[in-house]
């Protein structure tokens, strides 16, 4: 599993006081780990800082609300790690995120 995933899992464990060994790549941040929107603000801040990005949470939420995406695409941790890798790659390529 990618180091991105490990970093995210560590951030979630520390921020939300969730035992690290209960967090899996297949875990859904909301449905499985019970992370609420306030805790997710903290997580987003930590992820933004750790990776030097700005996770487009509002865009993602809008896509889910509009039925253009599922929550699994963004909030299952292995998928979240992929999205973050994409944002980091876009940033490094100078295309913005």
């Amino acid at each position: 599993m990618s180091s991105t995933y490990d970093q995210i899992a560590n951030i979630i464990a520390e921020t939300c006081d969730i035992p690290r060994d209960t967090i899996k790549p297949e875990s859904h941040a909301i449905d499985d780990l019970g992370i609420d929107s306030l805790d997710f603000l903290d997580i987003a801040f930590a992820i933004d800082k750790a990776f030097g990005i700005k996770m487009p949470l509002e865009k993602w939420t809008q896509e889910v609300n509009d039925g253009k995406a599922t929550t699994e695409q963004y909030f299952v941790l292995k998928n979240l790690a992929d999205r973050i890798d994409e944002l980091v790659a876009a940033k490094n390529a100078g295309t913005g995120a």
């Binding site: 306030l38 603000l41 903290d42 987003a44 801040f45 933004d48 700005k54 509002e58 939420t61």
Partner: protein, 157 residues
């Protein structure tokens, strides 16, 4: 400082949108019923009000950064430290800076001083949302004028 209306900031002394910093002043009133209970014979500003003053200072900064297009709502207070007593009649100077602007949220760090003495500090997270009511926005415009918000400092599109 108008404690009855929860308006804790008197004036904006400096706003630097490039550096994303603000300095404000808040004059602690000489007398208020709060000080009769907190505490008899030893009146001091409650820590929650110092925290709120730091939040309001950060709020004015974020309103500037957001060009008054969205309202910052207090969400998380971390590492709030009351480092010394603040007494009636003292002038509290609060400086705040934007630590991070995320998607739909922002984090600031704020410090309050009396003279050169650091009295309080905190890291504060805000949710950023559209004004829920037009009257609210009108009210904030009026308040901005009252606290000396330098509206000319706002970037124009």
């Amino acid at each position: 400082m108008d404690l009855d209306y929860f308006k804790l900031i008197d004036r904006i002394v400096d706003l630097n949108l490039g550096e994303r910093t603000i300095v404000v002043e808040a004059q602690i009133p000489e007398k208020h019923t709060i000080f009769e209970g907190h505490f008899p014979g030893f009146p001091i500003m409650p820590g929650v009000l110092l925290t709120e003053a730091m939040a309001q200072s950060s709020g004015w900064l974020l309103l500037g950064v957001l060009k008054f297009e969205r309202m910052p709502f207090l969400a998380i207070v971390k590492e709030a430290k009351m480092r010394g007593f603040v007494s009636p009649g003292q002038l509290l100077t609060i400086e705040a800076k934007v630590e991070h602007e995320g998607s739909g949220f922002a984090v600031t760090k704020a410090k309050g001083r009396v003279g050169k003495e650091l009295k309080c500090s905190a890291e504060i997270t805000f949710g950023l949302a559209p004004f829920p009511d037009p009257a609210f926005r009108v009210h904030m415009d009026a308040m901005a004028t009252k606290v000396g918000f330098p509206l000319q400092a706002l970037p124009h599109d």
